[in-house]
Point group: C2
Chain length 741, copies 2
């Protein structure tokens, strides 16, 4: 299994993320060769099936029944091939998966709380229980993923990004990876670590889509179409986000922004359809399970509608946006720094690589120790799960003490934020700082996990901090005309969450996700402004988290042009191309080759048909040419030639009855002829093939194809040229790229 | 001016929409030729500027100051060239335009109300005032647009769609069109006809962007880049929708769906940024004008948040979606039917074409007569403006009599829906039916107007109808577990509005627009389900309204592949290409040409270099070839030849001193040589140019470019071949397309 993966793209297992070692160019060449081979095979299959069809109609009356049943079968298969059936199945499946995973996570978290609560008499036992539980879960998750499918590690969005740009990493779309990802994710999130489920869900949805297409291809041929499957993968990414947050619109937009460079609008409805269906089923399951009374948002807020915020509060929102931009860039940088730091420490790295499960266990131990509620956790609301802290942060009441009321009475989970000795501001600041590095560290653990949700919570906390400060500063609100509209810190939390997650992922659609998550759109303008500012700051400082991971993992991925850099509009191809291209022609002799090799400074030489027609046939590497020349004209070859001549002389002397025609035909067979043509053009080998000009693809027998009366000039072609052709035929899938040595 | 437009694309003015008569293929050829010419010119300009730059650095010390100032200037210009400055300017400008237009429309509508209210004593005078006012305004709008810029007529989205696919209709992006569109739109909407401002705003925003780029190009060269300008146009479309509805997210999505097939995600932030800024300024203006207390949604709703709808209501929402799908298709069909019907009635059409302003006046008269409040208008809430009816339709109270309360007391505008004799259901049905055909008819008036808003209102009314029926059917709500949650008909209105407008425009993003317009997202799942169902139904029945208008106007537009038709995945190029392509070569003789013309059945013949190399040089039309042959070898030519020979004979007899070399050189000059090459390759005309093989672009002086020793065979080339070249050179921008005759 491991060998299978490593063959695919020379994947190298490292401590945290894993890394690819093959260059994209080399991979592309191999892939192109493979595809060409496959294409030939597939074509022959389709031709066979077409002829079978024709045969059926020839058989006449007796086969009428069979034809009828065949047609029915075809109709049914074509129905199964309809996109919407596939999308509904995908949506249904993903909603079920999402719900089951959520359910399992909730049970895991409840079990921890129950254990922790039952041991209240002894703090040490309590600590043991609090710490052991997540360590065991994370270690299991890491080990399980490691053994079953190491590809399941991490978020999966970087991989999907790579796949949707054309490099299909098949090993990421297997059933094993699916199982590893789902079970690993459940355990990882059940541990209560600051990890997210959004990225992995994009991957799980894509896995579902790939497996479903494979399954459906048993019924009809349409599912074998590769480009269609990629379109379905794009829809699946939307489904992943959609059913994770019950946010269909935000899911579609987020998946577009994160995975595509060019988006086909005809795919748009697919994403919407599948994501809506999935989100719908996901929420219906909650209603049926009596968790909710009806379908509402996941983190419902209840801000006032008539006066959501004052115009004069906008600078505060802008500040949140800009600060989130810096914070987001810092998060990405910190995450990369941790990975690079541990990779550099060779001895530690070697030790940890041997004891693979030690690193996850250590990180978990550190994080859970710090969040232990009776310990340091009391100053940072450590006993709240991620979901609980988000719900409390989005609360529409004000926590800070205000002029009118005698402080806010903390009910339920909100109590965690209220420490008798410490101000709520200190708690918030500690929460933000601690969670910030904890999340950056926790996302490097080799388990299936995302970073979206932790970042989202940190952003919400930061927004809340600003909001509470504003509320403390202006107890009666800013609005001056009569009515008192107190400031709503929950609204700031919404803005902060959208801004920070937008900055880390470099997306604007987190704004939409926020609206769908909270079920309120009243803060649309502050959210949009903050998200755009955060993006502007973060994009100018760091790559997005997904691009950063792509670089860390060295995924085979072409980087994209930046945005807004207008210099890029003024660069022409002529500005970067080399003009004095050295070339060799089919009929150039040894002297020419020699001159070229001596004078040229290019790594690759162009091979032309002739210096008149200047038709590019392919390219040959300088080193290959040199090797060939030395093979053909080097010392051993010359010795061999002398030996051959000596033997031939001997033979001639021994038997004079047979004329020496055998030797000549052998030399002809040494040549490997290549033709730029479709497979239909049958070219019978002629005794002097090297003399005829090469023929492009259009060549067909036609009306005016008369034998021309042009006398074909005969030139001596040395043996070395024939060998050049041989090399070039193996080299033909190379891109016509010339790079300076 | 009119001649200028007609030259552009053979635009033909018709009664309603206007029509293009030139085929896209022909247009493409001409455009390609023009671009090639321009490309040459621009290249020489850039080369000149580059050389100037180099000169500057040569001048040494004394010019240091100048270089410094030049650099400063360059820096400033590069700043001006930054996208975000352009986008902010665009957003600001459009927000101002939108606000001013809205303000003017509000004043116009108020004036009508004031006139109508002042004449309450006399019904006849009241009727006259009610009818004359819109007739005058619409007639003025139609006349003004007609005179200044006929391109301003209609929505503008079809044109933007065409432009964003590559066919730049320059006449649609002029300052005249801008003025005509803004003033025409204000008058048209001020008349109170069921017309919308959304489509025209997309056009106005694009006009703004185009004019702004033109203005900015005075400062820096970056604005001359065509591809950048098209990217900016795409962002402008988003701004148009964004500032029209104060819906930035919906605006971006709607503009993507409506105008693009492939969307570059790097454009995404541009749209978001500009649309957000524009929507923000637009709403801030309202706050500063004391219309609003703070920034909120345009049509704010106040549905309850905790239990927006019951799961069991979903079938009703689905019914709204499906019915809206049929309704949307019917609307598009009706709109096209009206146009086609009047186009067919030759005599009426001719009469109306002469009296151009009669048609708008008649339609306005009919519509405003029917909505006259004391007349038929009382049964269809005729006295409400579009905006007022939308606000009342989205009301969160129930109109129908319920079991508990003694009916709803209609306050303010809602009173219009309450007729003493007639049930509210009858009023709603009449409103829907009458507005439906009125909107379809009114959008054919040749004034700047859109159909989105009228359709939106009709959809809201339909939704309200279903909602009120549900409320009457289940007075205590459907929910059975204890708490009574009465049904909210306003929610149904939201769903209906999104579904019908989605069906007419074939977009899903109307859902997002609805959330942004109402400021509530609680009904997200019903809205999404209804919109998707409506789209599925409408797309299978009719093209979208914009595509329908594109067909009516015959805009130069390539139709797109449908969605979800999996058969399209199985068609290969080989399935539709012709295999037995007839071709002629450069060195074929008269007999070959004759044979080809007799035997072939293709309209266009391929011209190859030779039958060996099979290099395609271009194509020639059969008819042209025939004409050439008859010109060269026909009776008049032969007579001329004989005459020429006779004169030559005479000349030879008269003066023997000069040898006849002049005649030969003249024949050579007749030839027009064509070369596939860049402009750098200078080709000196040789005495026997037809003998040398054509050279492709790569041809450069280089290391191995030695003179080959191949003897070039000489063949007699008849005069006809030279002429073929002449034709082909004029024909060279043709696409290598072969169509059967």
């Amino acid at each position: 299994m491991a060998g299978d993966d490593q063959r695919a793209l020379q994947y190298e297992q490292t401590l945290m993320y894993g890394r690819y070692t093959q260059e994209l160019g080399v991979y592309a060449k191999e892939e192109a060769a493979r595809l060409r081979e496959e294409g030939g095979r597939r074509r022959s299959v389709t031709e066979r099936s077409r002829s079978l069809e024709l045969l059926e109609y020839d058989k006449g009356r007796c086969a009428k029944c069979r034809i009828c049943t065949l047609r029915c079968q075809k109709f049914l298969i074509s129905r199964v091939g309809e996109d919407w059936i596939f999308l509904i199945l995908l949506g249904l499946l993903m909603a079920l998966v999402s719900w089951v995973v959520d359910f399992a996570i909730a049970i895991c978290l409840q079990a921890q709380k129950w254990m922790y609560g039952g041991l209240e008499s002894n703090v040490f036992l309590q600590y043991l229980a609090w710490v052991t539980y997540p360590v065991v879960l994370i270690t299991f998750s890491a080990g399980f993923t490691q053994i079953l499918a190491p590809q399941a590690v991490g978020s999966g969005i970087p991989e999907m990004k790579t796949i949707l740009r054309g490099v299909v990493l098949k090993e990421y779309l297997t059933f094993k990876t699916f199982v590893a990802k789902v079970i690993g994710l459940t355990c990882a999130l059940g541990s209560g670590m600051p990890l997210g489920k959004e990225g992995p869900f994009v991957h799980i949805a894509s896995l579902c889509a790939a497996l479903l297409s494979k399954f459906m291809s048993l019924f009809g041929g349409i599912y074998e179409n590769e480009s269609r499957n990629i379109e379905m993968l794009a829809a699946a990414c939307a489904v992943g986000v959609g059913c994770c947050f019950a946010a269909p619109i935000g899911g579609v937009l987020f998946s577009i922004e994160v995975t595509s460079t060019f988006f086909a609008v005809r795919n748009y409805w697919r994403g919407f359809f599948a994501a809506t269906f999935s989100a719908f089923i996901f929420r219906v399951l909650a209603v049926w399970n009596k968790d909710e009374e009806t379908i509402t948002a996941l983190f419902k807020t209840r801000f006032r509608l008539d006066f959501p915020f004052d115009l004069q509060e906008l600078p505060a929102f802008a500040v949140i946006g800009i600060a989130s931009g810096f914070g987001g860039a810092l998060f990405v940088y910190l995450n990369r720094l941790i990975v690079q730091f541990i990779r550099k420490q060779k001895t530690i790295n070697k030790f940890l690589m041997k004891k693979r499960l030690l690193y996850p266990a250590l990180v978990t131990l550190l994080v859970s120790t710090l969040t232990f509620p009776p310990g340091f956790g009391q100053f940072m609301a450590g006993k709240l799960t991620q979901k609980e802290s988000l719900v409390t942060l989005l609360d529409n009441r004000t926590w800070a003490k205000q002029g009118i009321a005698e402080g806010f009475d903390y009910i339920g989970n909100s109590q965690a934020w209220n420490h008798p000795q410490v101000n709520v501001f200190v708690t918030l600041v500690l929460f933000i700082v601690m969670k910030f590095w904890m999340s950056a560290l926790a996302t490097t653990i080799p388990v299936p996990c995302g970073a979206f949700m932790p970042v989202f919570v940190i952003g919400a906390a930061f927004g809340r901090l600003v909001g509470e400060s504003m509320a403390a500063w202006f107890p009666d609100g800013i609005h001056s005309d009569g009515t008192i509209y107190p400031i709503v810190p929950g609204g700031y939390a919404v803005v902060g969450a959208a801004a920070l997650s937008g900055a880390v992922t470099h997306t604007v659609s987190t704004a939409v996700i926020v609206f769908e998550l909270t079920g309120q759109i009243s803060h649309i303008l502050p959210v949009m402004i903050a998200v755009i500012l955060a993006n502007a700051v973060a994009q100018s400082l760091q790559p997005s988290l997904y691009d950063s991971i792509i670089r860390i993992k060295k995924l085979p991925y072409l980087p994209e042009l930046g945005w807004g850099h207008h210099e890029k509009y003024n660069i022409r191809v002529e500005d970067i191309m080399i003009r004095d291209v050295t070339y060799i022609t089919l009929n150039c002799c040894y002297r020419d080759l020699h001159d070229v090799l001596l004078a040229g400074h290019l790594k690759t030489l162009a091979l032309l048909e002739s210096s008149e027609s200047m038709i590019l046939l392919g390219s040959i590497e300088r080193a290959q040419l040199q090797a060939l020349l030395s093979l053909q004209l080097g010392r051993p070859r010359r010795l061999e030639y002398l030996r051959d001549r000596a033997t031939a002389e001997k033979k001639r002397l021994s038997m004079v009855s047979h004329p020496g025609s055998e030797d000549g035909s052998q030399r002809v067979n040494q040549e490997v002829r290549f033709q730029i043509s479709t497979e239909e053009s049958t070219f019978s080998p002629t005794p002097t093939p090297s003399m005829k000009p090469l023929k492009p693809a259009l060549k067909r027998p036609s009306v005016v194809d008369r034998p021309t009366g042009i006398p074909i000039p005969t030139i001596h072609v040395p043996a070395s040229v024939c060998s050049i052709r041989t090399v070039w035929a193996t080299n033909k899938c190379g891109e016509g790229r010339f790079s300076r040595t």
